[in-house]
């Protein structure tokens, strides 16, 4: 069930209404049932995987805590706890590996052995990647590690824990929530708070704007260019690649925003997942503002356990590269995703290595690091670097990405930027204009975010008539200019595939 589908528009108000009508004791059971129904709308069988992941990490958490309360020696306790953690991790990551990476690795193995002239016929399975498996697996593992680290107590009620893993707004594409934040919120006494509900509704509207007005419209241009890069070569691909950066932002931030808004309507605050990432003046800053829940997950559960920056410069750079390679692999089982992750890791390592030289240049040229001009130029460079890496993310294969890059760097058709040729690449003039207006609105919203201005709060503080006009107009604009309805296949969110 997609957020931009008719089913969800029927499902969510029903869930919301019954949620607030039910007594406190059974609210969470209702949410759990709703969440499993939500997930089973994709594939009933795969809800068993969700259940398995839930049961394994639930029992793991209980066991780890029980071991702590036994009379075993500290050393034995530590070994036993670690053993439980490792077994739970292996089961969960094993499921993830089988469904997401088995084909990829057996293929690599087959090709490698083939080069050594060893014949290896990899077994093949007709597997469909379960929606959101990477998201809920990481959320469940995060909980288990938190229990292991004694940051939180294990949840004893399996239904409550199952809800934490399967909470439908963020189940299939995040934000990947932390147990500390979400578990406690799910079960507190909650009365209907109309202000929170209105806030959540407005947040959802913004998410729908990002998804169906912007992301899905931009996708038409990008898909047209990337589906036939020989025909749409040179500057078409330059424009398509720039637009893809906006598309993936609107698509993923759109999903996260709808998730945050719908959770807020249920009275639950999810973590922020994007903070105006394209206004970052360095790649490191970009990653602090992009997919925050995943980046911070990797930081807490991989980068720091690997030693973080505590074991010298070389180890720090090594750890960063490892984290980004794993992040690439998390996104998809393909070499191109690993290159994408590796590039982003490399950017940061090179950025840090060059910082002393940059500092010298700044000193010599008397450039203030905090000045607008410096940040602006940094922002442009950051965008170019990040956008370059997106080519590997968007292209269906590394070979394809290299062809696209070749075409971009040998572009010799700049006139298409001026002679209206762009209007033939999927989006006509009117749709192109709507897209540009949408991007400007997005940029303004992101500037407000950076400056700490809450647009929603500003709207809420306006008088009656303003609200009664501006909110309906916004909803109307989404309905009129959105890419939705039976004419269009409800477009999947890009991050669902992860």
């Amino acid at each position: 069930m997609l957020f931009n589908s008719t089913q969800f528009l029927i499902f969510f108000p029903i869930v919301l209404l019954i949620y607030y009508l039910l007594p406190k004791k059974v609210k969470y059971i209702w949410l759990l049932l709703s969440s499993y129904f939500f997930y089973m709308c994709w594939n009933v069988k795969y809800s068993l995987l969700l259940l398995t992941s839930t049961v394994v990490t639930y029992l793991g958490g209980i066991l780890i805590e029980k071991i702590k309360n036994t009379s075993l020696s500290d050393k034995k306790q530590a070994i036993s706890k670690k053993a439980v953690l490792i077994v739970s991790l292996l089961i969960n990551l094993g499921i993830l590996f089988f469904f997401k990476y088995f084909g990829f690795f057996t293929n690599i193995l087959s090709v490698s052995l083939g080069k050594l002239k060893i014949n290896f016929n990899a077994p093949t399975f007709d597997i469909i990647l379960p929606v959101g498996i990477s998201f809920y697996t990481f959320q469940a593992l995060g909980y288990l590690i938190d229990v292991y680290r004694e940051d939180i107590k294990s949840e004893k009620n399996i239904l409550k824990y199952a809800l934490f893993v399967s909470f439908f707004p963020q189940l299939v594409a995040g934000p990947i929530e932390r147990s500390k934040n979400l578990l406690s919120q799910l079960f507190v006494e909650r009365k209907f708070d109309i202000e929170k509900c209105i806030d959540g509704f407005l947040i959802m509207l913004w998410g729908y704007f990002l998804k169906i007005v912007l992301a899905d419209r931009i996708a038409i241009f990008v898909d047209t260019a990337y589906s036939d890069y020989e025909n749409w070569s040179g500057y078409y691909l330059v424009v398509a690649t720039i637009l893809f950066a906006v598309q993936i932002y609107c698509d993923f931030a759109g999903y996260s925003t709808i998730a945050i808004g719908s959770a807020k309507m249920l009275g639950i605050d999810l973590m922020e997942n994007f903070r105006a990432p394209y206004f970052s003046s360095s790649v490191a800053e970009f990653w602090r503002n992009w997919h925050i829940s995943l980046t911070s997950w990797f930081k807490d559960y991989l980068y720091i356990p690997l030693g973080g920056s505590r074991k010298g410069a070389f180890r720090k750079y090594f750890n960063k590269i490892v984290v980004f390679l794993v992040s690439g692999l998390w996104h998809g089982a393909a070499i191109s995703y690993i290159i994408w992750g590796g590039l982003n890791g490399l950017y940061q390592v090179i950025g840090e290595l060059m910082e002393p030289a940059r500092a010298k240049v700044r000193k010599l040229a008397k450039i203030n690091k905090e000045s607008f001009g410096y940040k602006f130029v940094g922002g442009i460079f950051t965008f170019i670097l990040v956008d370059f890496s997106w080519i590997f993310f968007r292209a269906p294969s590394t070979k394809f990405a290299i062809e696209v890059i070749k075409s971009i760097f040998t572009a010799s058709n700049p006139w298409i930027l001026f002679d209206q040729s762009l209007y033939h690449c999927g989006l006509d003039r009117k749709n192109f204009t709507v897209m540009l207006v949408g991007i400007i609105i997005l940029a303004i919203a992101d500037v407000c975010k950076i400056k700490g201005i809450s647009v929603i709060e500003k709207i809420r503080k306006q008088d009656y008539w303003f609200k009664c006009i501006i909110i309906p107009i916004f909803i109307w604009a989404i309905l009129m200019f959105g890419i939705w309805g039976p004419n269009y296949e409800a477009a999947n969110f890009i991050y669902f595939q992860f």
Partner: protein, 334 residues
């Protein structure tokens, strides 16, 4: 709380107005007249019709029913609509039986072999929104939309289907092109002026390729024939000549023979009717007023010769008489 409730009510009201207005301006082309004619039909007094015409634009624009009243005094109405495939004709047939008890029904056959099955909302299905729900209409929608929830949503909330037409909005989008009164004044017939002429070529009907009717079309025809038998209605299938080949004449002749009903392929009676290619058509598929009047004369005579119907001209202030008086003052006829 009261403040928020007022805000929500205000927002819903403004949004409803915006949506209603938007649905109006992005509505599919050429549906205004169909909605108007449906409304006009539903404004008729109950059980006032003896002869009913159903069908696509070929029949709707092809039979000037007021001529049948003028010449033969028949209580006749033309309840057609644009594009109608057999499914929609069937819907109109059952809709008509809710309020009327016609003695003779003419079913036009231009799209007799086409049904609306498993498809998105289009202009033809869209204008049936003007027909209120009754059991047959649910069947019609079920046949058209299958189990696709989004299609039903689009039917009741057409913005879902037609919102992308914002690109085509122009001055005409804001104009209501046809009123109910206009169709009340023509007793449903869709008038096209006599001076709108296009010369067309009509081939020799004996050389047209002939195809079989699909099982689905036959089943739907059977259903209509069965209902007519049950209701003591004389069903007449008829085809209005147009500027292309018609491929179901033989199949319909055979079908009519099997079911013991009448089929009038007017391609075969073109000379008898007196149709002139250079005068009586306004485009490749449709008659103008002159052609529609000639066809009405022919069919009126056929009805007069074969069925014993009351002469409505004997009754003062009947609904046809009033219309004839108005017709020259109607913008339709200007």
């Amino acid at each position: 709380m009261k403040k928020y409730i007022l805000e929500i009510i205000g927002i819903i009201c403004v949004l409803s107005l915006l949506i209603k207005g938007s649905v109006y301006i992005v509505r599919p082309d050429n549906t205004d007249q169909c909605v108007a004619t449906i409304e006009a039909f539903h404004n008729l007094p109950e059980n006032s019709i003896d002869v009913l015409f159903l069908g696509s634009s070929h029949g709707w624009r092809g039979v000037n029913v007021l001529e049948m009243y003028e010449q033969y005094g028949q209580a006749v109405y033309n309840y057609g609509g644009n594009w109608q495939r057999l499914s929609t004709e069937s819907l109109f047939f059952y809709d008509a039986l809710r309020t009327q008890k016609p003695k003779v029904v003419f079913l036009e056959t231009y799209r007799v072999n086409e049904l609306i099955i498993d498809q998105d909302l289009d202009g033809e299905i869209y204008y049936t929104r003007a027909i209120s729900h009754f059991p047959y209409k649910w069947n019609y929608l079920k046949q058209a939309f299958g189990k696709e929830l989004d299609r039903y949503v689009a039917y009741y909330f057409p913005l879902a289907q037609f919102h992308s037409a914002w690109k085509d909005i122009n001055a005409n989008s804001f104009i209501k092109w046809y009123t109910t009164e206009e169709f009340e004044n023509t007793m449903g017939y869709y008038y096209l002026p006599q001076d709108r002429v296009q010369t067309i070529e009509i081939g020799d009907y004996e050389t047209f390729d002939q195809y079989e009717l699909s099982d689905e079309a036959v089943a739907m025809l059977d259903d209509i024939v069965d209902t007519c038998e049950k209701e003591n209605i004389e069903l007449i299938l008829y085809t209005v000549p147009f500027g292309e080949n018609y491929n179901y004449s033989d199949a319909l002749t055979e079908y009519a023979k099997e079911r013991d009903i009448v089929y009038l392929d007017l391609f075969k009676y073109k000379n008898e009717i007196g149709l002139i290619n250079e005068e009586d058509y306004c485009d490749l598929g449709h008659m103008n007023y002159a052609g529609a009047t000639k066809i009405a004369d022919f069919l009126g005579k056929y009805v007069d010769d074969n069925y014993d119907l009351e002469d409505m001209r004997l009754y003062d202030n009947n609904i046809w008489q009033g219309k004839i008086g108005k017709k020259t003052g109607n913008k339709f006829f200007e």
